[in-house]
């Protein structure tokens, strides 16, 4: 990696002020570093300054109240996975957190970092390949090898969003608090993520001088059942070939409300309104769950090597629905 200066953050004002000094990539934030350090070592990012967020006080708490959760951006993935309230009432989130990488990475990786991590695409991560995402003119996955790439929402950059926490949090209706030089704002996590058609270089709405500070999750209704299903080639560590975060409000076998969010198949966590529509108000059985599965992927446009993800995603959605009814 190239040389950089290292600043311990003392306040959010200082952080946003440092970030405001330049555009993307000059001043970067580091918390757990499990994603960023890899980017630095491969010269994908070459910042002049790193701002260490771990010195910010009070940003690693998890507050569980009757109305919901407030999770600081510096809470570790282990903190989330092991939190008793999250395990009991926000199961999809605990399962998603537990599925991330390895214990060592979960112990240092943070919520904020997990949401803002960059794609794992093997072209993007190769310094020598100047792909569209890095300002070039080609997404190499289109003519190259695309086994791990997007089947939904790809055009023109076929990365997949690697986060496990994001689909779970979106399915739970989470929102994210963002702080910038002008103060703070809250956006729904679903709207936080963006597709390459809007901006091929970034994966979310953050401006260069903004920082994610907290995620709020409303408490699920008492009849909620939720699951995170993650298909991968290797037990650990491995990113999802496809994943499904499903949150269902059930009355017996009848689905009163559903949110279904897909991971590993699109450049952003992919809310499947189609799958939800196929389930809401229905008594869930094989036929209904399979309909939800096929509706979830009806717009899928696989590349050369990833048609299997269509089947896989379809099956995972069906499985999640069946689990809700069992």
């Amino acid at each position: 990696m190239d040389k950089f200066s290292y600043v311990n953050a003392t306040s959010l004002e200082q952080v946003t002020s440092l970030l405001s000094e330049s555009g993307w990539g000059e001043v970067m934030l580091i918390a757990g570093g499990t994603d960023l350090v890899g980017e630095l070592k491969e010269y994908i990012e070459t910042p002049k300054t790193l701002v260490n967020l771990k010195t910010l006080p009070g940003m690693d708490s998890i507050e569980a109240e009757a109305s919901g959760l407030k999770i600081g951006a510096l809470a570790t993935i282990t903190d989330i996975a092991m939190h008793p309230t999250i395990q009991h009432h926000y199961t999809v989130l605990a399962q998603a957190a537990a599925s991330v990488a390895t214990p060592q990475i979960r112990n240092v990786g943070t919520l904020g970092g997990n949401l803002c991590q960059r794609p794992r695409c093997w072209y993007y991560r190769d310094e020598a390949t100047h792909c569209l995402k890095k300002g070039g003119d080609t997404c190499y996955a289109v003519d190259g090898l695309s086994k791990y790439h997007a089947i939904l929402g790809g055009d023109p950059v076929y990365i997949v969003h690697p986060s496990d926490l994001a689909p779970a949090l979106i399915a739970l209706g989470a929102s994210v608090k963002i702080v910038g030089p002008e103060g703070e704002k809250t956006v729904s996590l679903e709207e936080f993520f963006t597709l390459p058609a809007a901006n091929p270089f970034r994966e979310n709405v953050l401006e260069p001088n903004e920082i994610v500070v907290e995620v709020s999750v409303p408490a699920p209704k008492s009849n909620t059942r939720s699951f995170y299903l993650k298909a991968r080639e290797k037990g650990a560590p491995d990113f999802a070939l496809a994943s499904v975060a499903g949150v269902f409000q059930m009355n017996g076998k009848t689905c009163e409300a559903a949110s279904v969010v897909l991971g590993g198949v699109a450049p952003a966590p992919w809310r499947s309104k189609e799958a939800e529509a196929a389930l809401i108000g229905k008594m869930i059985n094989d036929a209904v769950s399979q309909q939800a599965g096929s509706d979830a992927v009806k717009d899928a446009q696989p590349l050369n090597d990833n048609a299997y993800k269509v089947t896989l995603t379809q099956n995972l959605v069906s499985r999640a629905a069946m689990m809700a009814a069992s």
């Binding site: 190769d126 190499y140 086994k147 037990g235 299997y308 089947t311 896989l312 499985r319």
Partner: protein
């Protein structure tokens, strides 16, 4: 005739004995080449081409040379020469810190004129493909072999199968990457710490390269982190480390990065074979016609076995090599065998199904090897062969289980060329020295066991010195599963000779004939009169200022060539996700006398784990567009972890008391057994490794359609 004696007489040999270096390894005390740090040492780094095929127009090293802390920059390729694969060496630096070295290689300006590349077999064989070698075409002349008459064979066949089997390029993934610490002294003595499988081979190579007398080069490999066939020579990186040390007059450490390890440190070539085979109605394999090829990168050597293990009277095989713009293949654990075995065992099951015959029964009819015949029975019992689906894929539910079998055969008989010395000192201490190396197989402990058994001592009483060329006791490279069968007989005869010498010294003291003397446990006694007993310490005390030091000879009767193996796999396939989960592997491995049963089982476990990685995970991805390897890391090049490793029942099938090497054979039958188990589970055959979820889902979808 030399012999290892009866099992009932053995106190240590054949028992489960903890590895002598185990504690040092788990506590971090054991020093690998990576851990060697000499005073004043510099760090070497190599700049490599990111382009797969190009002409070198210029290399400008001036900026790198000017970087403070840089002590040497040397070119590794000449202008106008060609680079022919990603990773090929351009230049190297030595610097005061590794960080400076990394920065320095990025300051070397390389002007490359790109040429069209071919990185897949298909692209290399395509009409009008660019020729990527000056010395040969992209495809070699096929090697053709014929036995019997295949037309007559097929005429006799009641059933036929025609299928194409494929295995991709796999890399070795040595946990310790290739590398060296090189130290010149007075411009005439070179010491190299090398992560190598062949201490003496590396010594001789360095001596030749630097025109030094062999006795002025010392190579040390105290511990090493895996080679699997890829670490027999110093390679260009070793020569570069030594050259940088020579130029700077300082020790230089140069270890490959993980990326370079994937790119240039060897690989198992791919295999694609189209085979047509037939069997008679009574279950005899009668005809086999195979045409196949593979790529070992820019070099040749993409061979594989076939037909394999089973007897076919009429066969015709045609194999050729395909060159691609990729790093060279090197020997990898049982070269050619696992890929050939996967294809053959898949084929056997396909034929058996067409015959309506139990695949194990079909193997019994066609396998001429008596050891494996016995192994089939034992393995089938262990796995519960009767539980398999009589009709493949007939299980109910989303997750379906299946059972399969595969076979393998290896040599592992060892050979001459090892010198060893066993020394008994007057204070009772014992040393055993030889120039072999412990590449993780446990030969250090094997040596201690043999000597301790001979002297009636404990393994911890024996100081074993291996992995150093300095004592001048050569031994061969650790390849071909040859280490133990090469070394053990020499150690055994050296220890026996030393014991004989000791007996001669103390016979007068005990007033007993030499032939009457025996070792007990820490004692020596006369078998004719047990009251004539002295302790080991008392006995060696008779030596005064002298030590006994004896060499040994390689007694052929102490080892045997030939190791048959059979494995059974049980799998569970999730038909919704395509995930294959291993439930159990039973590995029945012929190995003759297992001197240390514990490390023999470890060898089998390790082979099975490597085999299941090949079966389910490992594949080098070469990008046809950029010409680069896309997964030269351990994120997307997936090797087995704890979640992938099932219960492994390693059965040491020791039918005789002669030593046979067992390093390679246990990785051979695994992929075939797993592939057959997957078929048995889901009723769809995956003919291409690794068996990943995408292939399983695609195959299931095809079956449904």
């Amino acid at each position: 005739m030399a012999s290892w004696g009866e099992a009932s007489e053995s106190r240590l040999i054949g028992k489960r004995i903890t590895r002598l270096s185990g504690k040092d390894k788990v506590t971090g005390k054991a020093k690998y080449t990576f851990d060697i740090n000499e005073p004043g040492m510099l760090y070497g780094r190599i700049l490599r081409s990111e382009v797969a095929h190009a002409t070198v127009m210029g290399v400008d090293m001036s900026e790198a040379e000017a970087l403070p802390g840089v002590k040497a920059v040397i070119p590794l390729i000449e202008v106008d020469k060609k680079v022919r694969y990603q990773g090929q060496e351009i230049a190297a630096v030595a610097a005061e810190t590794d960080d400076i070295a990394k920065d320095a290689i990025r300051l070397i300006r390389v002007d490359l004129e790109e040429l069209p590349h071919v990185v897949t077999e298909e692209d290399a064989m395509a009409a009008g493909a660019p020729e990527i070698r000056d010395w040969a075409g992209n495809q070699s002349e096929p090697g053709v072999r014929e036995e019997g008459n295949i037309e007559e064979g097929f005429a006799e066949a009641a059933v036929e199968v025609e299928a194409t089997y494929h295995t991709p390029v796999q890399t070795h993934v040595c946990l310790e990457t290739h590398g060296h610490v090189a130290k010149w002294e007075d411009n005439q003595n070179l010491t190299v710490w090398a992560s190598t499988q062949g201490v003496f081979g590396v010594r001789n190579d360095f001596a030749q390269r630097f025109e030094l007398p062999a006795n002025q080069v010392r190579v040390i490999t105290e511990h090493m982190g895996g080679g699997f066939g890829s670490k027999f020579g110093p390679g260009l990186e070793g020569h570069t480390a030594a050259e940088l040390s020579r130029i700077t007059g300082k020790p230089v450490k140069l270890m490959l990065t993980r990326k370079s390890e994937h790119l240039v440190a060897g690989n198992r070539p791919s295999m694609t074979q189209k085979v047509r085979a037939g069997a008679t109605s009574d279950g005899r394999l009668i005809a086999y016609d195979m045409k196949g090829y593979g790529t070992g990168g820019i070099s040749s050597g993409a061979g594989f076995t076939g037909p394999y293990v089973y007897y076919v009277p009429n066969s015709r095989t045609e194999r050729f090599n395909v060159a691609t713009n990729a790093g060279n293949q090197r020997a990898m654990r049982a070269p050619g065998h696992p890929q050939g075995a996967f294809a053959m065992d898949s084929l056997m099951d396909e034929l058996a199904e067409k015959l309506g015959m139990n695949p194990l029964e079909f193997r019994r009819i066609n396998d001429p090897n008596e050891v494996r015949q016995a192994q089939y029975t034992l393995g089938a019992q262990e796995i519960g062969w009767h539980r398999r689906n009589n009709v493949a894929g007939s299980g109910t539910g989303v997750k379906k289980r299946g059972i399969g079998v595969g076979s393998g055969q290896w040599g592992g008989g060892g050979g001459r060329g090892t010198e060893a010395r066993v020394t008994i000192n007057a204070d009772g201490t014992v040393e055993a020295v030889t120039g072999t190396q412990d590449i993780g197989t446990g030969v250090r402990t094997v040596i201690a066991i043999i000597v301790a058994e001979e002297f009636g001592l404990d393994t911890t009483d024996i100081r074993v010195k291996v992995g150093d060329s300095q004592p001048g006791l050569p031994s061969g490279g650790s390849g071909g599963s040859q280490t133990t069968p090469s070394v053990a007989p020499v150690i055994k005869t050296a220890a026996a000779a030393a014991k004989q010498k000791l007996f001669e010294r103390i016979a007068p003291l005990l007033d007993a004939p030499v032939a009457d003397l025996r070792v007990g446990t820490g004692t020596i006694y006369a078998v004719s009169d047990r009251t004539k007993t002295i302790t080991w310490q008392q006995a060696t005390g008779q030596l005064g200022m002298e030590s006994i030091s004896e060499g040994g000879t390689w007694e052929e009767d102490l080892r045997q060539n030939g190791a048959a193996g059979t494995q059974f796999a049980e799998v569970e396939v999730d038909t919704q996700t395509g995930a294959v989960r291993l439930i159990k592997i039973v590995a029945v491995q012929d190995c003759g006398l297992a001197i240390n049963r514990l490390t023999t089982e470890s060898q089998i476990n390790g082979g099975v784990i490597m085999g299941l990685g090949q079966a389910l995970l490992e594949e080098r991805f070469m990008d046809p567009v950029t010409g680069r390897m896309l997964n030269a890391n351990l994120e997307d090049y997936k090797v087995p972890g704890t979640f992938e490793i099932p219960e492994i029942k390693s059965i040491v099938f020791d039918t005789h008391r002669k030593v046979t090497g067992v390093g390679e054979p246990p990785c051979i039958p695994t992929p075939g057994a797993i592939a057959n188990a997957v078929y048995n589970a889901i009723g769809v055959r995956i003919r291409s490794l690794p068996i990943t979820p995408d292939k399983v889902l695609d195959a299931l979808a095809e079956k449904k359609a």
